[in-house]
């Protein structure tokens, strides 16, 4: 066997009685074996094992048998090596995971340790800037501002490092709460307005009427928007324009921030998403952290969306991201089954304001109702007739037929006259509402408790909360 390995070739002993026996062969002979074939398992001249075939009778092994065993041996060698490599890879990966976890822990505690002295740097420069220790001359004021701004910059960098390390460690948890897209975008613009004004940069916001509410992490959404916005302002020359747009598109909300800056050359367009790369973006009136875009892209990915760039050198840049919204159409389809088969009570919501639709839908679904929605009066009547819902939540000011007309048509149809109607309106005309047959009348803004309470009062208790 040793010789077969040494010579890296197949060897056979046709008669153990006729050869001088070494230790191994003696053992085989004593156990009654009379011939033996050894096929080494070779991989690139390395022996990883051997196939041994023994027979009780003497005689040579047939060439086909040897050939077959050699083929089998080479395949086995490959399989053994692969198995070893997989094993090593597994160990390596486990080691890497430990290293990565250590790195994240290290970064987290490091940024905490750095934050403490930074707190003093920023705080005491604010104390001086606030003239708490007396008047300052212009130069002192300017230098203090430099210290303060550098401190804030460092703090921002720390926060981003911490965020990134949390994402990498899988410890970044996102909220899942409704928020108003328009408000967040306005808030973001307000935060860069002063800086934009200093450079005579115009800010424009265009939010589609259907942008509505988003379910998600408002803070992180704001962080992404603000990052893109402040980049845009940073890289746009004096007198330029920064535009923010938001609209729904195929079940997703798309937000774009467009600037009239120098643009980004095609070669740099992917690179700028990597850490500490800023691309050849010409003027750079303020230093960035070099982590912002990396972080934005990772955050948007966590939200289930993506972030991309369209730009041409010399013609400005547009950074866009889209995140999934819950699909209203699917809700209607899901609800559109006969009354008897419904696991949850169904509410027909007749409301034209997309924000109110989103909010009321969230309230209702959160309390275990199915929701079917119509955006105008005639469609609302049709929806109620078609689905026979357990209750109707009705707005008064609607395009086409108004709420009053909807109520009178529902009351006139024996199939729908018994369906309770909860009016939700900005106008307080309770008396007229009750006279028209409303089971309850709520004035906007309506809380979840108000709404669910009114439905319960109307004899439609909430379903099982999800």
């Amino acid at each position: 066997m040793g010789r077969a390995a040494e010579e890296a070739r197949t060897l056979q002993v046709t008669n153990l009685n006729a050869v001088s026996l070494d230790v191994h062969l003696t053992v085989l002979h004593d156990f009654g074996w009379r011939s033996v074939l050894v096929v080494p398992l070779l991989r690139q001249a390395r022996v990883v094992g051997a196939l041994v075939v023994r027979r009780r009778s003497t005689g040579g092994f047939e060439p086909q048998v040897c050939e077959l065993l050699e083929t089998f041996a080479s395949q086995s060698a490959l399989a053994i090596l692969n198995a070893r490599l997989f094993g090593e890879l597994g160990t390596r990966r486990a080691e890497l995971e430990v290293v990565s976890q250590h790195k994240s822990d290290f970064l987290a505690s490091m940024s905490h340790e750095l934050r403490t002295p930074l707190n003093a740097v920023i705080g005491f420069s604010e104390v001086l800037l606030e003239r708490m220790a007396g008047e300052l001359n212009d130069q002192q004021d300017e230098y203090l501002r430099d210290i303060h701004d550098a401190g804030r910059h460092l703090l921002e960098l720390l926060n981003e490092i911490l965020d990134l390390s949390k994402i990498e460690a899988g410890q970044m948890e996102l909220d899942h709460e409704p928020f108003v897209v328009d408000e967040v975008l306005r808030g973001g613009i307000a935060l860069v307005r002063e800086r934009a004004a200093r450079h005579d940069i115009r800010l424009e916001l265009s939010v589609a009427a259907d942008a509505g509410l988003l379910l998600g992490d408002e803070l992180r959404f704001r962080q992404v928007v603000l990052n893109l916005l402040s980049n845009a302002v940073k890289f746009t020359p004096d007198g330029g324009l920064v535009t923010v747009e938001a609209r729904r598109k195929q079940g997703q909300l798309q937000v774009s921030v467009t600037d009239t800056g120098p643009g980004i050359a095609a070669d740099d367009q992917e690179r700028i998403f990597e850490s500490f790369q800023q691309g050849g973006r010409g003027i750079r009136r303020e230093e960035g952290t070099g982590l912002g875009l990396t972080l934005c892209r990772r955050l948007v990915a966590l939200m289930g969306g993506d972030l991309w760039l369209e730009s041409e050198a010399g013609r400005g840049s547009r950074f866009s991201f889209r995140v999934p919204t819950y699909d209203e159409a699917a809700e209607v389809v899901r609800a559109a089954q006969p009354a008897g088969d419904r696991a949850q009570p169904l509410v027909a919501l007749v409301e034209d304001d997309p924000l109110a639709v989103d909010l009321l839908t969230l309230h209702l679904e959160g309390s275990g109702f199915e929701v079917a929605c119509a955006r105008e009066g005639a469609a609302g009547v049709e929806l109620v007739q078609r689905l026979s819902p357990d209750a109707v939540v009705l707005d008064i000011r609607l395009p086409g037929l108004d709420g009053w007309e909807v109520m009178s048509r529902l009351a006139a149809d024996p199939a729908t006259s018994a369906t309770p109607v909860v009016v939700v309106s900005v106008v307080d005309e309770r008396h007229r509402g009750f006279a028209a047959g409303a089971a309850a009348y709520l004035v906007k803004p309506v809380s979840r408790d108000d709404l669910i309470g009114a439905l319960e009062h109307a004899g439609v208790p909430a379903g099982v909360s999800r």
Binding site: A108, S111, H112, R115, T116, P117, L118, N119, A120, I122, G123, F124, E126, V127, E130, M132, L155, N159, L162, E173
Partner: protein, 131 residues
Amino acid sequence: MTPGRVLVVEDNDRNRKLVRTVLEHAGYEVVEAATGEQGVTCAAQVDPDLVLMDRQLPGIDGHDALSLLRDAVATRQVPVVAVTAFAMKGDETQALDEGFDGYIRKPISIRSLVDQVRGFLEAPAAGRETP
């Protein structure tokens, strides 16, 4: 007559000095403690109107110190506000769950610190962050 006496429990000397500087400038009387133990002893002696408590302290941490303050008759009623590092997500709600009367985020903005302290002194039991 000062607008109030504030006990600042914070282990970092400079940051404690910063809070003291800002609050004293606004007219508050400030008492300092560098550890949770000191904070608890000090609170019993000086009868503060408000305690600002760092959550991460050497020795007994902010949460333990809070329990000790709540256990003692002399300090049971004093509003205790957690000073938390912004870095820790969920820290704020956790602070309220633990029984702090509110929280102030680090890094402390000196412009809003005084407003926050005033808010907590005016509505000690509100249990909410003043914006």
